[in-house]
């Protein structure tokens, strides 16, 4: 078990290292941030001064080394545009993103799981067809369109909900739905297929042969087992919702991390993009590590095989 955990931690560190290399060099391919911080026609001296100020005039490998050194000390650097430490900006936005992500996740599970179960037990029927349509729309409709339609209907025409910003529970409803629908669709699909797998298994047939009522077979024997992969996916999805709800947060002017990332990309603010991606990656790695360890604890075959 100890060897297994050490190996997993090693993989995590390697993943984070590769992520840091990728994002560091990838953002630099997008162009020179100095050209977005000066007015058109700025002199070469002005641009050079900005390069010097942000350390962009140093060799790339030196820049990367300094970036990693700061990272080890818990310093994500200072935003070019906001001239504020990235970690401070991240922490300012994190509560909003967590709130949005938890509500959106709650909605997606509330919608996705029951409809997935319903579709699996009524396969080929109305609910299955409805579920497929719901899934198709959820996965294919772009969230900016969903967001704008929601604003138009519930904010402009009906006047029930605020169009943008944060502050009250009402502000949460539309962005949470716009964000949650996509994930509700994926949760529904996974619940349906997972339930179908479980319903076809021998122990379910045995339960039925024993004469247990259908509701008990579904609720007690099938659902619990089908839920494991759905919850695993939900954990990863939650981290994604926290860190990369870029479109939804921008459309609804929700002051979260996704919007911070959008601003970072727009202004070629390298420290912001690097910081958000690294912290998001860190969260995903930690969640995965936790799940791996949990699996190993629950299922001895996993740690023995590895």
């Amino acid at each position: 078990m100890r060897r297994y955990i050490i190996r997993r931690v090693g993989y995590c560190l390697l993943s984070l290292f590769l992520l840091s290399v990728t994002i560091f060099f990838f953002v630099r391919v997008t162009g020179d941030p100095a050209t977005l911080l000066v007015e058109p026609g700025a002199s070469d001296a002005d641009i050079a001064a900005i390069h010097h100020q942000f350390g962009l005039d140093r060799p790339l490998l030196v820049q990367y080394g300094l970036f990693m050194w700061s990272l080890f000390q818990g310093d994500l650097g200072q935003s070019f545009y906001y001239q504020t430490p990235v970690f401070e900006l991240y922490m300012q936005r994190l509560p909003n993103s967590l709130l949005l992500a938890f509500v959106a996740m709650g909605l997606s599970l509330l919608i996705g799981i029951p409809s997935g179960i319903l579709a699996s037990v009524r396969i080929g029927g109305f609910w299955d067809g409805f579920g497929k349509l719901f899934t198709m729309l959820g996965l294919s409709l772009p969230s900016f369109l969903v967001g704008l339609v929601l604003i138009l209907v519930f904010s402009v025409y009906l006047g029930w909900l605020p169009s943008s910003g944060a502050g009250t529970p009402l502000h949460l409803i539309m962005p949470a739905f716009a964000l949650g629908w996509y994930f509700a669709a994926s949760h529904m699909r996974l619940t349906r297929s997972s339930m179908l797998d479980v319903l076809g298994s021998e122990y379910i047939k045995l339960a039925r042969l024993k004469g247990l009522p259908q509701s008990l077979v579904i609720a007690k024997h099938a659902f619990k087992n089908a839920l494991i992969p759905v919850l695993t996916l939900a954990g990863i999805n939650l981290v994604i919702m926290v860190n990369v709800a870029v479109v939804v947060e921008t459309v609804f002017a929700w002051p979260g991390i996704g919007r911070l990332l959008y601003e970072g990309i727009t202004f070629r603010d390298f420290p912001i993009v690097q910081g958000v991606v690294i912290l998001g990656g860190f969260m995903i790695v930690i969640v995965n590590l936790f799940i791996d360890i949990l699996y190993a604890v629950i299922d001895p075959r996993i740690r023995l095989e590895s």
Binding site: V38, G41, Y81, I151, L152, P162, S163, L170, A253
Partner: protein
């Protein structure tokens, strides 16, 4: 028993010991949701507050006059937080503000400013000559090298007077000091030295009509009226500037009354605002002409070398049609690359749309069937304009292919002279006057000049050395006439920047300073009774 305990625990969590059930909780939530909707509209409509929906992310560097670049956007905040010695105001592009008056010596080497009595910073300290000198010397934005090179010394004979001594006569000193840079915007020396540059950006203190209250980077800026502002006490007590990046969301927020003023609403959304009762558009013509530029005109082998071809291209552009289709007619068509609001602007003959005459000119130039002009480079944000130009040019036989480039990349390519073939669709919203605009885009050595004409180049140093304003204006007029005669550019329009206001706004302070896109002066804002 356990159920009762559970219920009590739940009630305790709710801060209510009366024993609320789950059903009670749901009902209360529903009532709260229903009641909450109108409350939002009321919250936004606080009696003494105006709320802005801003189209760009507010940056702390905009609180700092010393870092002001030559673009217009930071002035959106500077006009509220800070004040300048001399700045553009309604009816006067060089209005005395923190400077009560000033005088220039006959030789043009000395400028004496008298500081306004009673002018003070938000911390109650008076504005002094030391603050003026300090603000000039710490300026590090665009043109700081120029400002430094020209200045011999700054003297402060007493707290109410400051004297700028130039190394040589510089007719544009006031233009640069009052609007093209942030050097004339005054910050409190003692406070800046006490808190440092970073501290100043976190909690700026200025001498403007509004005090800084709070700032969430990229989210919201809150300002409060400064009772001690010298010009007048602002009528609106509180301003909230919310960043709402999506244009459709800004429009929805305006319609719902969540915001009172929305910056930058374009196209169909502007039309929608126009049709909504209670809302109105406040278009502003920016000091930002757009144009087509023909960089091949200095190549004798190119069709563009013939002035008749360039004139034909100018005649082929349907500016009015483009204006109505893309900007609801709110742009101002022009035939000059110098904004009409700039000092020493020369009014050229009006731009004409005459494709028949354009075809005649093409035939006369030996291109009756037209020619392939290669690529039409443009900033991708304005590719809709370029598409119309492309079609207009095709109608007289000049065929091009559109090459939209992301904004920063486009400007980098334009200034590094990459677009030597084809056509360039350019623009400039930089501050300045006719001389600065010509220096940047026409005269040899300018950052966007691909070639130049000796007669125009020869006039440039003459105007720079001329201290007689009338004679200088005559030289600048001659230069602009030559630009027009040679059809170096095909100017299109000065861009219309469309803002929108809600029903609560009395005086919106839009379009009071010619060419300025945003609210200014802020102290004139009012809310309807």
């Amino acid at each position: 028993m356990s159920s009762t305990l559970h219920r009590d625990a739940q009630a305790n969590l709710l801060g209510n010991r009366s024993g609320m059930t789950r059903r009670d909780l749901l009902a209360a939530t529903a009532i709260g949701l229903a009641a909450g909707a109108p409350a939002i509209a009321r919250a936004a409509a606080a009696q003494d507050q105006l709320t802005y929906g801003i189209h760009v992310s507010l940056a702390p560097t905009w609180f700092e006059p010393a870092e002001t670049s030559g673009i217009i956007t930071p002035f959106m905040v500077l006009y509220a937080l800070h004040d300048a010695m001399v700045k553009p105001m309604p009816g006067n592009l060089q209005a005395p503000c923190l400077a009560e008056s000033w005088s220039a010596s006959e030789d043009g080497l000395t400028f004496d400013f008298v500081i306004r009595k009673g002018a003070k910073f938000h911390n109650g300290e008076p504005v002094t000559a030391e603050d003026v000198k300090f603000s000039y010397e710490r300026y590090r934005g665009a043109d700081h090298d120029l400002m430094k090179e020209q200045m011999a010394s700054i003297e402060t004979p007493d707290p109410g007077h400051v004297r700028f001594k130039l190394k040589k006569p510089w007719p544009d000193f006031l233009s640069f000091y009052s609007s093209a840079t942030g050097a004339g915007w005054i910050v409190p020396k003692k406070y800046v030295e006490q808190v440092g540059d970073d501290g100043f950006k976190k909690a700026p203190i200025g001498a403007g009509p509004y005090k800084f209250v709070s700032f969430k980077p990229g989210v919201e800026l809150v300002l409060e009226a400064f009772e001690g502002y010298w010009r007048k006490v602002p009528a609106v007590k509180r301003l909230v500037m919310k960043v709402i990046p999506d244009e459709a969301t800004r429009t929805a927020a305006l319609k719902r009354g969540e915001i009172d003023i929305a910056y930058s609403i374009r196209g169909e959304l502007a039309d929608e605002v126009q049709k909504t009762p209670g809302l109105s558009l406040k278009p502003v013509v920016l000091q930002a002409p757009n144009w087509l530029y023909f960089p091949e005109q200095w190549d004798p082998k190119s069709p563009w070398h013939d002035v008749r071809v360039r004139q034909a291209a100018n005649l082929a552009i349907d500016r009015e049609g483009m204006n109505k289709a893309l900007f609801l007619g709110y742009c101002k068509t022009t035939n000059s690359l110098v904004p009409y609001t700039f000092a020493d602007y020369w009014q050229p003959p009006a731009a004409v749309y005459d494709p028949a005459k354009a075809k005649e000119l093409m035939s006369a130039a030996g291109h009756p069937g037209g020619f392939d002009a290669g690529l039409l480079y443009c900033d991708s944000s304005y590719s809709n304009m370029a598409e119309v130009s492309l079609n207009n040019l095709a109608a007289i036989g000049i065929t091009t292919k559109l090459q939209p480039i992301e904004r920063a990349g486009f400007w980098a390519g334009y200034s590094s002279k990459k677009y030597v073939r084809g056509i360039v669709q350019g623009a400039s919203a930089a501050f300045g006057n006719a001389a600065t605009r010509l220096a940047t885009f026409v005269v040899k050595g300018g950052p966007y000049v691909y070639g130049s004409y000796p007669d125009i180049d020869a006039l440039y140093p003459q105007q720079a050395d001329e201290m007689d304003q009338a004679k200088r204006a005559a030289i600048l007029t001659k230069m602009q006439q030559l630009v027009y005669d040679k059809s170096i550019y095909a100017p299109i329009w000065q861009l219309g920047f469309i803002n929108a206001v809600g029903p609560r706004v009395g005086e919106s302070s839009f379009d009071r300073i010619p060419g300025f896109a945003y609210t200014a002066p802020f102290e004139d804002l009012t809310i309807k009774a």
